[in-house]
């Protein structure tokens, strides 16, 4: 374990993976609540165009990927807010156009699709010191916004109309969520890869929602699980010589599968607790319709049913009980 930290490239890979493991589930919690689970996947495709452009021009790929991804995300959100992206066609064209353009540009650069592979599935040795600085800076921005604004962002995800009536800048917050997702996708490119990062945005969130109660508990839980599977995946892939992105994602899915029986167990325990009687029952004292000539009692002709310490008398499907000069509904 120690010798792993002596390797400079592994230190960088571990830091980058840890940040991906924290940011992807953090922003993924909002994305999942908004039922945009596959947005990250689409943004990954758009980022490929940025990588292709960088390969073709011979510059560093990460800034280009971030630029393409944020631009694509902004375009998607603008189209959505204008109501033009209703039929998924526009999104599909953008996403597959990004993928095709990336492959085309990479092959123009003489690399073919093979040159893209490390960006698609992640690779431990490729995180350069320059990359790492950018990744740390962008991840810090994502975390500060996603956690600092968690209350209004949650309000917008929970009930957009209601958030509007509170006077929250709903359009801005929607924009922020999508752009943060784009930044997260691009910065996770080196460790998890563009085609697998979406899983890190969705799977730890799903597992955390099985294990935790409430939105903010799930947010924290998802970030914790994301961190664990990312670091675990990088270490495992180093020793077993596996692709890091695939290892991380399969670890996350394993955690998700394990979360099912745990959630079923806690659910059962909870229900046993809820079977206790309500500590503050609503007083139930409603006067029933009056009976001019008739007081319910033994032998009154109406069927009697036991109810706690007294008898109710069935009267047109209602349960009546004598009380002073009138009857109560029970």
């Amino acid at each position: 374990m120690i010798e792993l930290l002596n390797l400079a490239f592994m230190r960088r890979a571990l830091v980058a993976a840890a940040l991906a493991g924290l940011t992807a589930p953090a922003i993924g919690t909002y994305i999942v609540q908004r039922r945009l689970s596959l947005l990250g996947d689409g943004l990954g495709h758009v980022a490929i165009a940025g990588v292709g452009l960088a390969l073709a021009t011979g510059s560093a790929p990460l800034p280009w990927a971030v630029g393409a991804c944020v631009g694509g995300a902004a375009l998607i959100e603008l189209l959505r807010q204008r109501g033009r992206a209703s039929g998924d066609i526009g999104l599909a064209i953008l996403f597959y156009g990004g993928l095709a353009a990336g492959v085309l540009l990479a092959s123009l650069a003489g690399q073919g699709a093979g040159g893209l592979q490390s960006y698609l599935f992640g690779s431990l040795v490729t995180v350069s010191p320059g990359d790492l600085k950018l990744v740390v800076a962008l991840a810090a921005v994502v975390l500060v916004v996603a956690l600092g604004w968690s209350a209004p962002l949650f309000a917008v995800c929970a009930d957009e109309d209601y958030a509007k009536t509170l006077g929250l800048p709903v359009k801005l917050y929607n924009f922020v969520i999508v752009v943060l997702a784009a930044v997260t996708v691009a910065t996770a490119m080196r460790t998890v890869g563009l085609l697998l990062v979406s899983a890190l945005m969705v799977v730890p969130v799903a597992a955390a929602q099985n294990l935790c109660r409430g939105f903010f508990a799930s947010l924290a839980g998802a970030m914790g699980l994301g961190l664990v599977v990312s670091l675990g995946g990088v270490v495992t892939s180093y020793y077993a010589d596996l692709a890091p992105g695939a290892t991380i994602v399969l670890l996350a899915i394993a955690v998700f599968v394990l979360s099912w029986p745990v959630s079923a167990w806690t659910h059962r325990r909870r229900h046993r607790r809820l079977d206790d009687p309500d500590p503050r029952p609503i007083p139930h004292h409603w006067a029933a319709e009056s009976h001019q000539d008739h007081v319910h009692g033994p032998g009154c002709g109406h069927p009697a049913v036991e109810h706690g310490d007294h008898l109710d008398y069935l009267h047109f499907g209602h349960r009546h009980v004598p009380h002073g000069d009138h009857h109560d509904e029970h």
Binding site: A151, P152, A158, Y162, L166, R213, G214, P279, A288
Partner: protein, 286 residues
Amino acid sequence: MLLSGRTADPAAGETDGDSTPDLVEIQDLGVSLDGLPVLRQVWLTVPAGQAVALLGNNGSGKTTLVRALLGLTPHQAGAIRLFGAPAVRSGMSRRDGFHSWWRIGYVPQQVAISLHATTLAEVVRTGALAHRHDAVWGVTSWLHRRHARQVVAQALDQVGLTAQAKELFIHLSGGQQRRALIARALAQQPDLLVLDEPLAGVDLAHQGLIRDVLAGFRERGGAILVVLHETEALAPLIDRAVVLRDGRVVHDGPLPTDPETHWGHELEAPPRAAGLMTGLGPHWER
């Protein structure tokens, strides 16, 4: 009829000189949805401290009017003034416009929340976001958190949902969810409550609870605009009723004792099964 109903309201003539303006002033409002006119020449005022009921058949435009008033549905004609200032949505730049949206607590007709992993307390807490206007933008201070916790606990207690605070929202029953939305609006500590059929699906015991909550709210000076079908539960509370028919105001005055005289011709009214139900005796009225 429309004009007489409006001018019969004494508050309408006084608003300009009055020190407390009407909280809601809707003038000659016209709203079309998908090109079809849904509201036509609607005038409506809610003075401070009054409870106004908005009545009308299904499809008469009550929800549309409420949504237009809150800026959720754009209007094509007329003007809306809230708390004495022209209504302006955030993003538009008009300094003299109304921006204090948190002062209006909204209970929508439909529950739009379908989140899996959200507790009741978290949903109600979004109402407490209204208090952020006096905090530094986007910064949740410790004080605000403490205040929000108290406000949320109080609102849950008012609608009788304290025991369910940690339950998942989607696991609550329909009536409990409606009460939760009322608690969310109460957590805003608003000056005006706009409720779209708040009692639909709520059991009798809790209808009484909510009537008491609304009565207390009005006693402390709050104003209420409430869309209703069954006026019975809230009748003692209502100061004035406005009846819509086909997107027009057909009555503005005291709560109609016999709705049919105001809600339209008997032929147009839904078959109210008068003989059928009442023939079975008074038990069905309960």
